[in-house]
């Protein structure tokens, strides 16, 4: 009896495996960042709105901040932009925009057209800092705590589904910063 059931059991097992594979198929695109829990890489980049000015990571030391990677050529960035603006209103921490692999003129035009959401704008036309951050597409959003450690990475556009979670995480980092100082 068991012998006759064996092929059926193997078949059911295989079906289970494939269904599990299908269920997690959309997560397979997401590459876990090895940078979570690591310090944010050092940077020294021009401010997009004032190229004469250089922004370094020390400027942001001691407080949590959000680093949002965007580019004018990126349609998903346009999609998430209303929520990024909303985020700027909902949180106290600085919202830093990293303009990634973009052209200066195009970026400024984009800001003029869709509005500015960020407190600080980093300009990384070569994409060098993006590589240090392990960015593999725009948009990506990093949460960095008051010790300068990367705590969370959101890949792809921020959506209504992920917004509340993101805000909760930032509030958590803000609370930690207050408890720590």
């Amino acid at each position: 009896m068991i012998r006759m059931m064996l092929p059926l059991l193997v078949f059911i097992g295989l079906v289970g495996l494939l269904v599990a594979g299908l269920k997690t198929a959309d997560q397979r695109q997401i590459i876990d960042s090895p940078l979570i829990g690591k310090p944010v890489p050092g940077f020294s980049l021009p401010e997009l709105l004032d190229l004469e000015r250089t922004v370094t990571n020390t400027e942001l030391n001691g407080k949590p901040f959000v680093l949002n990677v965007w580019a004018s050529w990126c349609p998903s960035c346009r999609l998430e932009h209303p929520l990024i603006k909303q985020l700027g209103r909902d949180i106290v921490s600085p919202l830093v925009g990293l303009n990634w692999k973009d052209e200066h003129d195009a970026a400024l035009q984009w800001l003029g057209q869709f509005g500015d959401a960020w407190d600080l704008h980093l300009f990384d036309p070569s994409g060098r800092f993006g590589i240090d951050l392990g960015v593999y597409g725009a948009p990506e959003t990093f949460l960095i705590d008051h010790t300068g450690t990367i705590r969370h990475k959101h890949i792809g556009p921020v959506s209504m589904d992920s917004y509340d979670d993101l805000v909760a995480r930032i509030r958590q980092l803000e609370a930690e910063a207050q408890a720590g100082s």
Binding site: I31, P34, K101, I131, G134, Y136
Partner: protein, 148 residues
């Protein structure tokens, strides 16, 4: 003379592939042949993280071009293959390597096939032994062995 139609088409297809594969590669100048070989090897074993299963070598994605540039600059800067691989892993994780490292979470990848093979061999051995015993029994009934 008969014209070899199909092989010609095949050759064209193959040529297409060669042209497409090479279009993504920038012209690079190396000081030594070893550097060039190392470069070719590294861009082949590093994955383009934005593509569907494509090595850096043949990818047209802008990020892949940037990463190739990184590999090139670091080779010219005297970094070792290990250091360059580590540089990529620190940023993009194990996913960037086509050969995943042998670690606890990749154990099933490396050992799974061997375990499956052993299970299959074991099952085959059991089946063969059973069948042989069955055959022996049947033969024994048909023509009893003379007692020794």
């Amino acid at each position: 003379m008969r014209t070899p139609r199909i092989p010609l088409i095949l050759i064209l297809f193959l040529l297409c592939d060669v042209i497409l594969a090479q279009s993504a590669i920038e012209v690079r100048n190396f000081n030594t042949e070893v550097q060039e070989l190392r470069y070719r090897e590294l861009v082949r074993e590093l994955r383009c993280t934005v593509c569907q299963n494509e090595p850096l070598e043949s990818s047209n994605a802008p990020l892949a071009a940037d990463l190739r540039q990184q590999v090139y600059e670091q080779i010219m800067g005297g970094r070792s293959d290990f250091e360059i691989r580590q540089y990529m892993r620190d940023r993009y994780g194990d996913f960037v390597l086509y050969d995943p490292p042998f670690a606890a979470h990749t154990m099933i990848l490396w050992l799974g096939p061997i375990v499956l093979l052993l299970v299959a061999l074991g099952a085959a051995a059991v089946l063969i032994r059973q069948r042989r015993r069955m055959l022996d029994e049947r033969r024994g009934r048909a023509a009893p062995q003379p007692e020794q």
